[in-house]
């Protein structure tokens, strides 16, 4: 078992890379979605809401299978397990992130908009120089929670055959005669990674003195 530890640590790196990439895309997508949601044009808003409600109501496992088996059939475009997993995780993360970003932008008082407008800032300039910097401190701590969720969800990539941490643990289990020590090691590794990240989140929260981690509740995965 000990002999396999380096292998598992490397696999943990793969899991981190996958989750990080998905989170990055999800954060961009979520921000876009939040901006669309905030527009006055109703159909845009409805579209954004439908998107969020859809991903809030369909298990990530289904989304992942869809990305891997469904997308090639429909679009005639083969996705590798890695690409499919990244896509599914990013789609899911973007739905949650759009709410986080929206709450962040909403937390900046209306007076800030008015002050900027009065000073002759365009919408984009206001966003870039006034709103975003203030929203960021509200957005950052819960984003850490979304990242942890994404990291946990990335374990499902093992089901569509991507060899990340969970798959590696199962393979190690097979080649060491089926004990459950590899599974326990798996749990410990995930725990250590996520706990470390959550401590960063808690530190950010203390630093920015923003709300509680309640935001991330319901992020069971």
């Amino acid at each position: 078992m000990i002999a396999y530890l380096p292998l598992m640590l490397r696999a943990a790196g793969t899991t981190l890379w996958l989750s990080w990439l998905a989170m990055l895309i999800g954060a961009f997508g979520g921000t876009l979605l939040a901006l669309v949601h905030m527009q006055r044009i109703a159909p845009f808003r409805w579209l954004a809401i439908a998107y969020m409600e859809f991903f809030r109501s369909v298990p990530i496992l289904i989304v992942m299978f869809f990305a891997y088996y469904g997308v090639p059939l429909v679009l005639g475009l083969d996705l590798s397990p890695f690409a499919a997993a990244t896509l599914a995780l990013a789609l899911h993360a973007s739905a949650t992130m759009s709410e986080v970003v929206r709450a962040g932008i909403g937390s900046v008082g209306h007076g800030q908009w008015e002050a900027a407008q009065a000073a002759g800032f365009t919408w984009l300039q206001t966003m870039r120089h006034i709103i975003a910097p203030q929203a960021l401190r509200v957005v950052l701590p819960p984003s850490i929670g979304v990242f942890i969720t994404t990291l946990k969800e990335s374990s499902l990539a093992s089901i569509i055959g991507y060899i990340e941490l969970t798959r590696t643990g199962l393979l190690v289990r097979d080649s060491t005669g089926g004990g459950f020590a590899p599974l326990l090691a798996l749990g410990v590794l995930y725990f250590l990674i996520n706990y470390a990240i959550s401590q960063i989140g808690a530190a950010l929260e203390r630093r920015f003195q923003t709300g509680s981690r309640i935001e991330t509740v319901g992020a069971m995965a």
């Binding site: 990530i60 289904i62 299978f65 059939l73 599974l183 959550s198």
Partner: protein, 223 residues
């Protein structure tokens, strides 16, 4: 690009879909009820006078919040036989889901308890209420109001998470999708149908909780 969507090949499997949906619903309901009970126990533990018990409760919550459900399911499913207990897939999945969800439930309930001001306990006690009366008439209604929304979120989270039970061979909706998809080769259709089933389940809960909430908290009481 010219994929034709057809449900004809799926028809024969729809009977199994109902069964699968029933399994999903039953598994989630049991897990929700059991994890509320276990979560309540842990929330109480975290308010204990004994430091050891408080730490124990906190460690439990951290482990459950930071470990993937899939790994927890595998550990339960494969560990039980190793220590000489034979668990059916369903029981293993139920156990894994419950243990995991309890970590979140404990936090929700704890936040609800914290939100009740200490003065509330004192006022109720000084009116001569018994422990049960304090809980029933003063603490519970206030806790319920604070936890109502997050509890609804958690119910939905458990329904979604129950799809992972298919990984330990429970024949739920997600598992129906995988088997029927690979036998009929109509992957796309099975995904759509499975997605709709989950969508309907979750949105039913979502809308029901909004309506019930509006009715329950209809008076002007803000807090």
């Amino acid at each position: 690009m010219n994929y034709t969507f057809t449900l004809r090949t799926i028809y024969p499997y729809l009977g199994e879909l109902w069964q699968a949906a029933a399994v999903t619903l039953w598994l989630s309901s049991l897990a929700i009820v059991l994890s509320i009970a276990l979560g309540a126990g842990i929330a109480v533990l975290r308010r204990s006078r004994l430091r050891l018990l408080r730490v124990l409760g906190a460690v439990y919550v951290e482990i459950m919040r930071n470990t993937p459900l899939l790994v927890i399911l595998y550990v339960v499913y494969f560990a039980a036989p190793a220590i000489g207990i034979r668990l059916s897939s369903f029981v293993a999945a139920l156990l894994g889901l419950t243990l995991n969800s309890a970590g979140y439930m404990a936090e929700i309930l704890r936040a609800g308890l914290i939100a009740v001001a200490p003065g509330q306990f004192e006022a109720a006690q000084s009116q001569g209420m018994t422990g049960w009366q304090v809980f029933r008439h003063v603490v519970f209604p206030q806790v319920f109001r604070t936890i109502y929304a997050p509890l609804g979120n958690q119910v939905i989270a458990v329904i979604l998470a129950s799809s992972l039970a298919s990984a330990v061979a429970v024949e739920d909706v997600a598992s129906w999708m995988q088997t029927v998809g690979s036998t009929s080769f109509r992957f796309f259709e099975t995904f759509v149908i499975a997605a709709i089933v989950y969508l309907v389940l979750c949105q039913t809960v979502n809308i029901a909780r909004l309506l019930i909430g509006r009715w329950l908290f209809r008076q002007g009481a803000t807090r």
